[in-house]
């Protein structure tokens, strides 16, 4: 048999191996241990090295692009030596980036303004002519005249409280005033009047109220720039993790008020944080747009949501009156207007309509599937000719809640897991440079996909204790726990919190239900419309959750349909993005109203089809393996 010389850079080690040797074995002979969390199965793509010269076989791998291959990148666990070779091993940092290149981290699109900037909030600095015996028009008349002449603004509206202060304000800096006006309605409503010229920019706030997380964006309305972003857990979580629990809570005495206050408190904390960070005063925020699901919108406005829960699931409203910050207790300018993005139905809310606006799905010929996965999963299928939508209850697992070791995607959260097929030892990736404290939604998807592919769990989602014991007789990571079998992702000694980080069968079952609900929601839509799923040309993933998930693994567990990866596009937090557009453009606001009227809502529990699809999806990846050919192929190995 032919002997080949393989040299490795940096370091310059040279080894002789026989033809057909795997590169990783050659590297091991040279004393180079390559990072190989999947156990050398060609699944994780982390053992890539570059062939500078010479020939290898087994170059193709799903983790390598055409460009990578042209540059000489190979995976050392699949490439075999066929002649003398010169290999470059990239530094460790580089290898980590290789993971990041996985489809999961396909960069989320930047929040952008799609519309001509035309905010509803305007500010005018006026230098009014002081009154005299010749020009003795009343103060209000003078202000109107100034607005008309100097800023071309007609139809000033103000209330009696503002009128009480008007005389003094106008005179305080010798008839120089800054007027902030809200033109979202028919006239120009006076939001703020202050003496002199205000230096800072005009600010607006775009807020996405999720069931679990609240995100706020501080926006400079003068130039459209996004100044900052802050997010927190929705304080309503203390009254229930999902919308149904919140609605149940709202039916208690004082429940609606409690929840309304908690929503507002959450936002106020974010406002304070953002204002401090940008040297502004909360009072400088003169306009706000809120996008949230229908229940969140009801609670935010203090409208009892109970009828959303009861058959036939009718909300009090899908379009909400514009109100002021003071009405709601928001700690921004008390007269700032607060616009809630309209909903389609009880379970398809303003977060989705804002998301559709951001995705621009409605203006393309391309058949697109838009997904927003949070505590609920909402799905929109359509293009410029039609849009249909449905919603399913997913539960908070993907947001890191409802599990013993679950946490939000923040420093300390496990976000990526690779399990060696040989040793069943996991390698984890933690957000931030800190010890692991728990697991977030993307980490959970990743962990379950790996457990499935390595045989730690069955397709039914049950941990195979015997199999793990056979591979890990010393210290098995799978063991009987308090609530059934569990798998230890991180031993206490390595964990931030000092206890084992585990996934139990109950956690797994939870995730399987979540993914089943979402996949079933997608399938029912395809079925009801008569549009086969494989004709979908783009899958647009919105919602905060979408930014971190790994498409390959999400397909492996059957959460996302098995379509080519290049059809998936991550849009980031589309709800906040849509709200940002509405804040900055009146055109966007009228567009979103138009979109709502054209979206067809599909009620999932109207017949059996959802239940049927759901049961079929309660399996990994799916009862019908033919729908997931790429996964079936992987599992058959």
């Amino acid at each position: 048999m032919k002997t080949c010389r393989v040299s490795f850079q940096p370091g310059g080690a040279v080894v002789s191996v026989s033809e057909g040797t795997l590169l990783l074995d050659a590297a091991a002979r040279a004393g180079i241990l390559l990072d190989m969390p999947c156990g050398g199965q060609g699944r994780c793509g982390r053992c890539r090295v570059k062939v500078e010269s010479g020939e290898v076989t087994g170059r193709e791998n799903i983790h390598l692009s055409q460009e990578d291959m042209a540059q000489g990148w190979v995976l050392s666990c699949t490439a075999r030596v066929v002649g003398d070779l010169a290999i470059t091993v990239p530094p460790k940092v580089e290898r980590d980036r290789a993971i990041v290149e996985l489809p999961s981290a396909r960069a989320a699109a930047q929040i952008a303004l799609h519309w001509p900037r035309y905010p509803a909030l305007r500010r005018a600095y006026l230098e009014l002519t002081p009154p005299s015996l010749e020009d003795n028009a009343p103060d209000l008349e003078r202000l109107r005249r100034g607005l008309r002449q100097e800023a071309n603004l007609e139809g000033l509206e103000l209330d009696v409280y503002q009128m009480r202060e008007l005389g003094a304000t106008l005179r305080q800096d010798n008839w120089r005033v800054s007027a902030t006006l809200d033109a979202s309605g028919p006239g120009n409503r006076l939001v703020d009047l202050r003496p002199g010229r205000i230096k800072g920019p005009l600010l607006g706030l775009a807020v996405d109220i999720g069931t679990t997380n609240v995100v706020a964006y501080l926006v400079n309305l003068d130039n459209g720039r996004l100044l900052g972003k802050a997010s927190r857990m929705n304080r309503q979580v203390s009254c229930g993790e999902d919308v149904i629990s919140r609605i149940v809570f709202s039916q208690r005495e004082g429940g609606v008020d409690t929840l309304q206050n908690l929503a507002v408190d959450t936002i106020n904390v974010l406002v304070k944080e953002l204002a401090q960070a940008h040297g502004a005063s909360p009072e400088d925020i003169g306009d706000m747009v809120m996008a949230g699901n229908t229940t969140m919108a009801h609670l935010f406005l203090g409208i009892p949501p109970r009828y959303i829960r009861e058959e036939p699931y009718v909300p009090t409203a899908t379009h909400f009156p514009v109100c002021t910050a003071r009405d709601l207790g928001l700690a921004i300018h008390p007269r700032a207007s607060v616009y809630c993005v309209p909903s389609v139905a009880a379970y398809v809310g303003g977060d989705i309509t804002a998301g559709v606006l951001a995705s621009k799905l409605y203006e393309s010929d391309t058949l697109s599937l838009f997904l927003d996965v949070g505590t609920n999963g909402e799905i929109v299928l359509g293009n410029k000719d039609f849009m249909m939508t449905d919603a399913c209850s997913a539960g908070p697992a993907l947001e890191g809640a409802g599990m013993r070791c679950g946490m939000r995607a923040m420093p300390g959260a496990i976000e990526d897991v690779r399990i060696s097929s040989l040793t069943l030892e996991p390698t984890i990736k933690v957000i931030g440079d800190v010890p692991a404290q728990g697991i977030c939604g993307s980490g959970l998807i990743s962990a379950v996909a790996e457990m499935l592919v390595t045989g730690v769990i069955s397709k039914g989602g049950k941990i195979d204790l015997d199999y793990v014991l056979s591979r890990q007789p010393e210290r098995p990571r799978a063991r009987p726990g308090e609530s059934g079998p569990e798998y230890v992702l991180v031993w206490a000694g390595e964990a931030g919190g000092g206890t084992d980080i585990t996934l139990s069968e109950v956690d797994l079952e939870n995730l399987v239900r979540v993914k089943a609900a979402i996949y079933a929601g997608i399938m029912v839509m395809a079925e009801k419309s008569g549009i086969p799923l494989d004709t979908v040309e783009r899958v647009l993933i919105g919602g905060a959750f979408g930014q971190h998930i790994n498409v390959e693994q999400a397909i492996q567990i059957g959460l996302l349909p098995d379509l080519p990866w290049d059809k998936f596009h991550f849009l980031g937090n589309t709800s906040a993005w849509g709200a940002y557009n509405i804040l900055l453009s009146k055109h966007a606001r009228s567009k979103v109203e138009e979109l709502v009227a054209g979206m067809t809502y599909v009620e999932l529990i109207a017949d059996n089809s959802f239940m049927n699809e759901f049961t079929a999806s309660l399996f990994l990846p799916h009862t019908d393996a033919d729908r997931f050919p790429s996964v079936a192929h992987l599992l058959s190995r």
Binding site: R309, E310, I531, M599, Y601, I605, D607, N608
Partner: protein, 451 residues
């Protein structure tokens, strides 16, 4: 072929004007695709679109009505080979054949038995649809006499059976039959012109009989060309195997090939080749499940009528509704008043998983099943169908306190939040939160009820 929602949508105006009562044109299209709406609800659809959509929505099997009011038989208009694909819509008529050769008082007795038979099942009154009166010996007078006996039971649907057009004409002209729109049985190769003329004259549906599908299709085309629309076909198959073949093929031809000459309901006679009454009933059973529209039996007794009516009810149940268990308190093992009491919903799969865990635990247990309209624990809780009030009402209805000595109730772990509410509804009860998953029931029972 049926169009999909998106295909229908292409023909609609896409203005979302809401005049049809649906929020969008696509919502309307989806309803049309499910046959839950009529195209005429849209006032703005173009003529061209209308004709295209109407052609696609024409029923592949003619809807035929036998009789008027009362127990009329309305059959046809089916769209599925298998009930799970959609549902079976129009229950086949069940009729008893009486022969004019039998003694008149016996005939009268049989007619009265059919007419007076009533049985209740799941809150519904079930009854036999009617009578087929056969001209057995070829004697016109005997036939007319038998037909007259049916006058006592005007609510029953009638099939008049004679191959002789004169005899048929006489019967149709009899006041006993006037206005009852009986099915005329049957037009054959030999007599079809005259029979068709009678059907036309009396506006009655007409049965067409021929041996084999070829001859049958030829004959229905001739009868249809003579202006008869309401046709019922008899392919002449009388045994288990041949009738299964013939009825399956007729249904397939109508639905899958849009073959109009056989797009009619089928009449069967399960008694003719049966070697026992059980076989007759079993063949009728096959015909109910496999595509018959009118089933004419030769025997009638309550002990066979009740199971057949139940069979028909089962087969024609809408499969789109979730399978529900009957609400009630179910014993497992041989529970006594000290055995644990669990509560769950009446969604079948929920019930099955809970009951199988209880069974496999071997623990004698009471399980109270609450009517949640077939929804699972979380769904029914979410929609307010499984709450403290519903549970306490159910407990009262089922007289739980008489069966059970203790006062503790185990609720599903998934709805632990109900505990507080329930303690309000059941002040003297101890509410225990059971496991979240059914798997945990065995260990839970062992832990809490260990002897």
């Amino acid at each position: 072929m049926a169009l999909t929602a998106i295909e229908i949508y292409k023909y609609l105006p896409k203005t979302n004007c809401k005049d049809c009562g649906f929020p969008t044109c696509l919502a309307f299209a989806m309803k049309l695709a499910q046959k839950g709406a009529e195209l005429s609800a849209c006032k703005h659809v173009s003529e061209e679109a209308k004709s295209a959509l109407e052609a696609a929505s024409r029923p592949p099997i003619r809807l035929v009505t036998i009789g008027k009011d009362g127990r009329k038989v309305e059959v046809g208009n089916e769209v599925a080979m298998f009930r799970h694909e959609k549902t079976f819509y129009h229950q086949p008529g069940l009729l008893l054949r009486v022969k004019d050769s039998a003694a008149p008082d016996k005939v009268a007795q049989e007619m009265a038995a059919v007419a007076s038979y009533k049985v209740e099942r799941v809150g519904m009154q079930l009854s036999w649809n009617g009578l087929a009166i056969q001209n057995d010996g070829g004697d016109k007078a005997a036939f007319l006499a038998a037909v007259k006996l049916a006058q006592a039971h005007p609510e029953l649907a009638l099939v008049l059976m004679s191959d002789d057009p004169d005899t048929m004409a006489a019967a149709l002209g009899d006041p006993a039959v006037a206005g009852r729109l009986p099915l005329i049985y049957a037009a054959t190769e030999a007599n079809w012109q005259k029979m068709a003329a009678l059907a036309k004259q009396h506006k009655c549906p007409l049965a067409v009989r021929a041996g084999g599908l070829d001859a049958l299709a030829t004959l229905t085309e001739q009868v249809a060309a003579a202006g008869i629309e309401d046709i019922v076909v008899d392919p002449g198959a009388r045994d288990f195997g041949d009738s299964l073949n013939a009825l399956t093929q007729i249904r397939r031809l109508a639905l899958k090939k849009s073959f109009r000459p056989l797009g009619y309901p089928v009449i069967t006679f399960p008694g003719e080749k049966a070697s026992s009454q059980e076989e007759e009933v079993l063949l009728a059973t096959q015909h109910i499940a496999r595509y018959a529209g009118v089933i004419v039996l030769d025997h009638f007794s309550p002990a066979m009528a009740y199971p057949l009516l139940t069979e028909r009810l089962n087969i024609y149940t809408d499969p789109q509704k979730p399978l529900q268990m009957q609400a009630g308190v179910y014993p497992f093992g041989k529970p006594d008043p000290a055995s644990p009491l669990l509560v769950t919903t009446n969604f079948s799969l929920t019930y099955f998983s809970v009951s199988s865990e209880i069974e496999s635990s071997g623990f004698p247990t009471w399980l109270m099943v609450v009517d949640t309209e077939g929804q699972s624990v979380l769904t029914s809780w979410a929609s307010g169908k499984f709450d403290a009030e519903k549970i306490s009402k159910a407990a009262k209805n089922f007289k739980v306190e008489e069966k059970i000595g203790h006062r503790s109730l185990v609720i599903p772990g998934a709805v632990a939040v109900l505990r507080g509410e329930l303690e309000g509804e059941f002040p003297e009860w101890k509410i225990m939160v059971g496991p979240r998953e059914a798997v945990g029931i065995g260990p839970f029972l062992k832990q809490n009820w260990a002897r």
